[in-house]
């Protein structure tokens, strides 16, 4: 009968544990743990990439992880990067393996309605594109009737391609899916795939990182738009709101011309908005469960949105994606990077 008691106790413990888990916010868990578990890709140059020469994670998504760690815990180094794939990223959040995922994830309704996640604001505006070998004689998407087009499993591209085939009435075209971008790129190089399809930024990054970038051609077509956002577990407003406003903080900092470089100077500013924004006098953090200087900490760690963009996708990088004239520019310059009102 002892066994029975243990079993019963086990079941009750499970019930009690799951109930207890549901009531606590991830924000409290993260603070208690004093480390942020952040899910990122490590094969997407410019977004989440393990730089093999420095051994460091780098990319736009990686910088957002650091900004969150700095904003929540006051220290950008208190972040543990957990590699997620296109396929595993949702389960990683659902099971609590990671607290937040920034992994170039396209925001679309099915993901919020049927997977229990909530998206954070858009941090990059991308589009689904195609890349072919330059010597294949393919100039546009229309040349690919009957071709095998490859993409990654679990990406939004899978359904975008299927819809594009259907719209053009193509019957023989096939979608082949691989686990990750690395295998996808090898398959394109070997000739198995006539075209590789994923977000244009990733295509630019892979071509840019290749030994001979001119061997590849990114087709002019954009099959669909692809707005990226991080995401957290559903129904945890406390955590989600904290992260949303850290992200908006980076947008607003660029608009208000507060950067990593001039932060020390801005902290001494007489402007009442800047004083409140950076938590010198009052601040916005307390009611979110953060410290009042959370934005100052995030800017100190990674800089404002413009600096994050330039570091990872700017002119000095191999995959250089021009911001000007795209939605990724600040709204004051005709883009779509926009923070709600802070005052």
């Amino acid at each position: 009968m002892n066994l029975l008691k243990i079993l019963t106790a086990g079941v009750f413990a499970t019930v009690a544990f799951s109930a207890a888990q549901a009531s606590a916010s991830v924000l409290d868990t993260v603070k208690q743990r004093d480390v942020l578990n952040c899910g990122t890709d490590n094969t997407a140059p410019g977004f989440g990439y393990l730089n093999t020469t420095t051994g460091q994670m780098e990319g736009l998504d990686v910088d957002f992880c650091k900004a969150v760690a700095a904003g929540v815990l006051g220290d950008a180094s208190k972040v543990k990067f957990v590699t997620v794939t296109d396929k595993s990223r949702f389960d990683a959040v659902l099971t609590g393996q990671v607290d937040v995922v920034f992994a170039h994830t396209t925001i679309k309704p099915a993901r919020e309605s049927s997977i229990a996640i909530d998206f954070l604001p858009i941090n990059f505006y991308d589009g689904t594109g195609l890349m072919v070998k330059a010597d294949a004689g393919i100039k546009e998407f229309g040349d690919l009737d009957g071709a095998t087009i490859c993409t990654t499993q679990g990406s939004a591209t899978e359904t975008v391609l299927t819809a594009a085939f259907k719209a053009r009435g193509w019957k023989d075209s096939k979608v082949l899916t691989y686990e990750n971008l690395e295998k996808l790129f090898s398959a394109l190089n070997s000739g198995r795939c006539n075209a590789m399809s994923t977000d244009k930024s990733a295509l630019a990054a892979w071509a840019g990182n290749a030994p001979a970038p001119t061997d590849y051609l990114i087709l002019p077509d954009t099959l669909d738009k692809s707005p990226f956002g991080g995401f957290v577990i559903a129904n945890d407003s406390k955590w989600r709101n904290a992260l949303r406003w850290i992200e908006y903080g980076l947008f607003q900092a660029e608009e208000s011309d507060i950067s990593q470089a001039n932060l020390a100077e801005k902290l001494k500013s007489e402007d009442p908005f800047v004083q409140k924004f950076l938590g010198v006098d009052g601040g916005y953090g307390k009611d979110f469960g953060l410290s009042d200087d959370f934005i100052a900490q995030a800017i100190k760690a990674v800089g404002n949105y413009g600096e994050v963009y330039d570091r990872n996708l700017g002119p000095k990088t191999k995959m250089y994606l021009d911001r000007k004239g795209t939605p990724n520019a600040l709204w004051t310059q005709g883009g779509a990077i926009y923070s709600p009102l802070w005052n």
């Binding site: 019930v15 095998t148 499993q153 359904t159 391609l161 299927t162 023989d172 979608v175 070997s190």
Partner: protein
Amino acid sequence: MTIHETSAVRGMVDHDHLKSRRLRNRIRHEAIQFGVIAIVVALLGMLAYAVKSGLAEKGIRFSFSFLANTAGFDISEGWTLTSGESFLPDFTLFSPDMTVASAFVTGIFNTAKVAILAIILSTVLGTMLGVGRLSTNWVVRNLCFWIVEFVRNTPLLIQLVFWYFAVVLRFPPMASAAHLYGLIVSQQGVYVPALSWVGGDSILSIALATLILVSAVGAIFDPIKGMRRVCVAAAVICFALLFVRGGVELNFPVANKFKASGGTSISPEMAALLLAIVVNSASFIAETVRGAIDALPKSQWEAAASLGLSRRYTVNDIVLPQVFRVVLPSFGNQYISLTKNTALGIAVGYPDLFNIYGTIANQTGHSLEGIIIVMASYLILSWIISTLVYWANRRLNPTGVPR
């Protein structure tokens, strides 16, 4: 009352007493068993309830209704069942406007396809390797030994990636692929001419096709002893007649811009997966076969030799029939593990059950329900295999016949 009578009465009383005690014991025993089962069922129910309410609290819905939704994604190859006319399921190629359930069926089909082919090919190759390891020829013996050693001692996943990226994808592209009597070997796949049915509803053609089927079944199961050759001959003649009458025709693959159309093909992903699994399983099967041959009494070889049988006849007619009786259960284990290993197909993009589950889980968000379906499917596949092996074992080893 004599002493004898008394003891007899006492005996009867004792007997009744014993009987009632046995009954009591049995009732108690059954009550305990029943109680344990009831508790286990209750615990499972509580666990399921806890899981379900835990999921509900996290905002995750648990329901299988997503199976009826439209898939909306493409699968690179594979057939499926879909609800056709007059409620009979249609067996057709998968297309994105079918349901999620059809996508699962495609995955099961692809997994079963690779598993069945791999079981047949690895048994043949494995037996050859196993016999080869005991060959009197030094080259053959050592070659087999090193193949088996090398393959057994490296991970299957790495072998699979090797076969795919280093072998299959090194085939020439479609434009410069070798054409050999309709056979096209390219990195877009291996294309072979296929037979296609053009007989329509012609009664003669259908009758001939039925005859072929019957004689093929007869040739395999050989219900009337000694009729196997007649059955094979009948099948060949019927087939020749059908071909001449125009009931079937050879459909040659024709290369076009990106791939080839017509004929039948094996995709590079399937070829790589099949190669990896066949070679890997064959090396394990080879070891089983070699062990069983070694375990056979030496006198069997000596007896065969004293009858003047050549080595070939000794192996084929004396050794292997005895070996197969012994190794079948181990083969069964190997077949089951081989079937489960097909789940590695995801590493090379082969749309097997587990790969398609990944896509479904991501597009619909129902990963828990999906994994339950996947586990149940693998369980059923494994059961089918073990049942078939059990059945074959019974046939090869009739009860009462000494080994």
